[in-house]
């Protein structure tokens, strides 16, 4: 993912100067699912308003219209978005995919009831349209109705229980509401769906540490350790995490000799890696990191 971002940044700089390949830039943004709305809207609209550039896109032009419409909505450029949506409506007059964009246009204006109407009419014919169901979740969130968003997500997950993006979104909302046990449950589902994803092990560990208590610290340490392994020993949060857990376990009430023995040496190894990384990449902070780890 890192190399992808570097390539996008490189293309973006060229495009900003007026010499880059805008179509390629937009395609890479779509592929990496980045949210760089003001650049996409600006360069995208310029490309779409230029008829020869538009023609060169071939069949991709419709995907680009959709991408630029959404970016324009994100920047509150409602007229530009309307232009793109208009073009799509002409080509695909009965499409639910374009219907979603019409709803989003109302959402961007804060016209929630009109957006609701658009979505309700699509759902009448297509009651399990995932894209539209996701808009309902997004609208609840946008209006600050987090418990409503939680409800909608739970309903959605009954239909689409393997949708890990939704499990992750639900976890994030639970965390914002400080409902840590529920967030932990979501991460358990995420780990089931993608057991080799280091970020899910990491997220689970962070939540358990936050809930606290000796048993949770011990489990958190295991998941921080597996996150280290799955990330090839590179994830700084996981490395720090095992050290924090070890310190927490040592100070925890109710710990016994068995716990201290089991509080294995993984954190000493992690501490060594952290110190070495700081000496290499952040020498000015190396002594700060070292003194924190000694404590």
């Amino acid at each position: 993912m890192g190399e992808g971002i570097t390539e996008v940044d490189r293309l973006e700089a060229l495009v900003d100067e007026g010499v880059g390949d805008v179509a390629r830039y937009l395609a890479l943004i779509r592929k990496l699912k980045l949210r760089r709305s003001s650049k996409v809207a600006k360069h995208g609209m310029e490309l779409l308003r230029n008829s020869s550039a538009r023609a060169k896109l071939g069949a991709d032009v419709w995907t680009v219209y959709e991408q630029v419409a959404i970016a324009a909505l994100d920047c509150q450029c409602l007229t530009a978005a309307k232009e793109c949506i208009g073009a799509l409506l002409k080509k695909f007059p009965d499409s639910t995919r374009v219907g979603r964009l019409e709803g989003m246009w109302f959402e961007a204006r804060g016209s929630w009831q009109q957006a609701e109407k658009v979505y309700a009419s699509i759902l009448e014919e297509h009651p399990t349209d995932a894209r539209i169901l996701k808009r309902k979740i997004a609208m609840a969130k946008a209006q600050g109705n987090l418990m409503g968003a939680v409800d909608e997500m739970n309903k959605y997950l009954e239909l689409f229980m393997a949708d890990h993006e939704c499990w992750k979104e639900l976890a994030d909302v639970y965390l914002a509401l400080q409902m840590y046990k529920q967030a932990a449950f979501c991460y358990e589902e995420l780990i089931l769906v993608q057991p080799a994803n280091a970020l899910f092990h990491l997220g689970y560990a962070e939540i358990l540490y936050t809930i606290g208590g000796l048993e949770n610290l011990k489990t958190a340490k295991k998941y921080y350790a597996s996150a280290i392994e799955l990330s090839g020993g590179k994830n700084m949060r996981a490395l720090y995490g095992v050290c924090l857990c070890a310190a927490g376990i040592n100070q925890a009430k109710g710990r016994n000799v068995k716990d201290e023995k089991e509080n294995s040496t993984v954190h000493t190894l992690a501490a060594d890696v952290i110190k070495r990384e700081y000496r290499l990449k952040a020498p000015k902070k190396a002594s700060l990191a070292a003194s924190i780890l000694e404590a």
């Binding site: 949210r35 994100d74 946008a142 600050g144 994030d172 965390l175 914002a176 509401l177 400080q178 840590y180 560990a205 962070e206 939540i207 540490y209 936050t210 606290g212 700084m236 949060r237 720090y240 995490g241 924090l244 990384e277 700081y278 990449k281 952040a282 000015k284 902070k285 700060l288 990191a289 003194s291 924190i292 404590a295």
Partner: protein, 208 residues
């Protein structure tokens, strides 16, 4: 108790929020107490001033988790007490995810509570998007809402925000110029540091 915020701290926290427009952000405020009567009663002395001298941007997106927060607080306290005369953690700042959300939610309250255990006059600053949007007309008013703890240990907004002043009257103009330049892209927070430790959460070159 009066509160004052330096241009450095104020511009940095605003730029941090502007870098991550679609996410909540938070950070730690660093400063000192000055003025007022002597002795241990200084915190209660209305002539005393808490000067917020600098800030450390912490996280963007996910703000409710403890481990990296604890790590950051330890490193920040350690750094400022050993490198900068008399500076310590005096509060935190928070910017909500949504544009029209002016509530101080549970997470900044909890962080504020934690800081208040070590510094009883701790404050929480909540970014005010309305004021940030109209910076050109803001003049000498900072685009943040000040919250302090009242006698029942709850967080209350100071009436009329007259209790928080900008130490330098040029702060809003400078911020406005930086926004036009896109300077917010250069802010590094603790999240960025954890992703790449060569990035410095002290932001040494930010105002060059």
């Amino acid at each position: 108790m009066k509160y004052q915020i330096s241009q450095t701290a104020y511009v940095k926290l605003a730029l941090h929020a502007l870098k991550h427009r679609s996410a909540a952000v938070n950070g730690i405020l660093v400063g000192r107490v000055s003025g007022g009567g002597g002795g241990g009663g200084a915190e209660e002395d209305s002539a005393a001033t808490v000067s917020i001298v600098d800030c450390v941007p912490l996280f963007h997106g996910q703000l409710g988790l403890l481990p990296m927060l604890e790590l950051a607080l330890t490193q920040i306290e350690e750094y400022f007490s050993s490198h900068q005369e008399g500076l310590s953690i005096v509060g935190c700042y928070h910017a909500n995810e949504r544009f029209d959300d002016y509530d101080l939610s549970g997470i900044p309250r909890k962080i504020g509570d934690h800081i208040a255990r070590y510094f009883s006059s701790a404050c929480v600053l909540l970014l005010d998007n309305r004021l940030l949007e109209s910076l050109a007309k803001a003049g000498k008013k900072p685009a943040v809402q000040l919250f302090t703890r009242d006698s029942s240990r709850g967080w209350r907004s100071a009436p009329g925000s007259s209790d928080l002043v900008l130490a330098e009257s040029t702060a809003n103009e400078i911020l406005y110029d930086y926004i036009l330049e896109g300077r917010e892209q250069s802010v590094t927070d603790f999240d960025d540091h954890l992703d790449d430790i060569s990035k410095d959460w002290l932001n040494p070159g930010l105002f060059d």
